[in-house]
Symmetry: C2
Subunit: 364 residues, 2 copies
């Protein structure tokens, strides 16, 4: 839950950061900020948390150049904006922050591009160890939904809302808010969480009543999942002690979707402990399934082959399971979408494929 | 409302179509199907309905070639599938249909690409004058949401759900189902419908309580709106007699978003009467606003200029208003996003811009 304490902590940390610049000035030092280097070669596996985090290499943002000084100036202005935003219990999007900077009195502090303001917010997250959500910075889109036997309470600006994610929602399901830490889990009959990549498959599972029959909570990932979707998945696992399985297309881009749910992403490795669910397991479509169920396929494109080869070297996929599956796929040179299961009929996925795979995995 | 009658009508029309092929065969004729030509030059303004519809030019799908015969064979198989689907009260996605065809006993009837099956469904919609939704063909994604003082009843497979789009939903709002004709409007305090392009702006309006203060129903378009979003917008206008205004970025691509809400699209001109809301009006960002409010802008790219020039020749934009605005934009060579209003502060859009514009338009 995002509580008043979290927000106070965020405020405190931001002010501390600004105070640090001040102290450096006061001590006659050149102000600077150290940040972990955000590249693939600087992510390491953390044995305690079982997720990938940044390693020891850092980059320094120092005021010893005009460019560096300007960065710290922008950071100071952004900190002031964020502290006021928290003070007033407001929120804003990354895009709004970029435009807002046009109203700042010092032109040197204004952002030249949204990449610049986005990166600054990420830097502040890393340095302050507070998430963007606790700064009240909203993403552009969340959009994913839940459907299943879960009752929750969402703290909205208009008061509390108690919502059962089957009984109180339409067929579209419950819309996950931008900051899912405003949600409290009240009650549930969920046996496992099933994260689904595509809308077509999500709707298939709901139409076939899979959530109802198997007491499963269907989380729609909507392609590469938003932070809010990954966060609520993690909370469902950690707080309700539920197994999490991920169901995507059978191609390298979809394995990355699984990877971002399970291990976190390189870009947000500083948030792995907040967003990643290392216990999440992959249901399929496995390259093995393409062979076993004789699914309709497409040939691998060159970009698919390159992506698979790069996954073989990605520390997140360095397991016997993934090595075997990826090598098999490079061997058969084929990929398949999850909706390709429809070639066996519209009920094949819910009556045969998922029950077989989930039993094999020990989830059912 | 999608009723049993609509579905029976869909079934009947599909069977009639197959019967027509049969009769043509029986009469010793070469079976064929006539379909309006779907190009920009064959859309005309219908004075009665005030939307753009197909003109008189038609294309013929005839079995007088192997290619043509194969098309009609595929149509027959698809018709059989759809009739059974309606019989069993099931539904499926366009993508599933493509894969499903792999299980059909006649290999010649199987689709070679999803473009082919998608186009066939559109052909069937046009010829049978029944919408895809009444065939129970679902889109891949709907995803848009409503927020505002509207109480509705959604007919789901699991029974009726009564939902108030402010009191019974979280901050994410009410998720529009794939087929919004399953919705019945129960009660409302809505004064006007505000369709918003981006998620960031939608969240801004909700955070600022704009829906509450102005009794407005915020419809998130999510970029180019899905059919479900356009359909519910039209129903809100027609059934509840509500003014509809559209709020997008100020660039040629966003004017097309407005156009697809108001006038329908070339691709789905056969559905204009079902999907388009010709009374919908454009709030902004107008090129005029860029000048008047001195908004942060980006220069027009070559592709923007081409798109604006092509809009000047698009019959849907042949009004004094649009000609003036588009020519102004070509003149100032600038575009602006709706979130650029944040350069004047986070409340500028709800406290100044929208109230001013909506008053000028006579909506407030």
């Amino acid at each position: 839950m995002s509580t008043k304490q979290d927000e106070e902590l965020a405020q405190e940390r931001l002010i501390d950061l600004a105070a640090e610049f001040y102290d450096q000035f006061a001590a006659g030092e050149v102000p600077q900020m150290n940040i972990p280097t955000r590249t693939k070669s600087n992510i390491v596996f953390d044995e305690d948390s079982k997720v990938w985090v940044y390693g020891d290499r850092t980059s320094t943002r120092s005021a010893n150049s005009v460019r560096g000084a300007r960065k710290l100036l922008k950071a100071s202005y952004a900190i002031e904006f964020l502290v006021n935003q928290l003070e007033e219990d407001r929120s804003s999007t990354l895009r709004e922050l970029y435009y807002l900077s046009e109203s700042w009195d010092n032109e040197e502090a204004q952002f030249q591009s949204q990449d610049e303001s986005n990166q600054l917010i990420e830097d502040l997250e890393i340095v302050s160890q507070v998430t963007r959500e606790d700064f009240h910075m909203r993403p552009e889109e969340s959009g994913a939904t839940l459907m299943g036997p879960l009752e929750l309470r969402e703290q909205t600006r208009r008061g509390e809302r108690d919502i059962h994610c089957q009984e109180d929602v339409g067929e579209g399901g419950y819309q996950i808010p931008n900051n899912p830490d405003t949600i409290e889990f009240l009650d549930h009959d969920v046996d496992f969480v099933l994260c689904v990549e595509t809308g077509g498959m999500r709707d298939r599972l709901v139409e076939n009543g899979f959530d109802d029959e198997y007491n499963c909570l269907v989380v729609h990932l909507k392609g590469q999942p938003a932070r809010a979707t990954r966060r609520i998945t993690k909370r469902l696992h950690d707080e309700l002690d539920l197994p999490v399985v991920v169901f995507t297309d059978g191609d390298p881009w979809s394995y990355r979707i699984y990877g971002s749910v399970a291990y976190g992403s390189i870009k947000s490795a500083h948030l792995s402990e907040y967003l990643a669910t290392p216990e999440a397991r992959f249901v399929g479509i496995q390259p093995e399934d393409i062979v076993e169920y004789d699914l309709p396929t497409d040939p691998l494109a060159d970009s698919d082959i390159n992506a698979l080869e790069s996954e073989l070297e990605d520390p997140r996929f360095e397991t016997d399971y993934w090595t075997e599956q990826i090598e098999l796929q490079l061997d058969i040179e084929k990929k398949a979408e999850q909706q390709a299961l429809a070639a066996r009929g519209l009920d094949f996925v819910t009556e045969t494929y998922l029950p077989e795979r989930l039993s094999a995995m020990g989830v059912l």
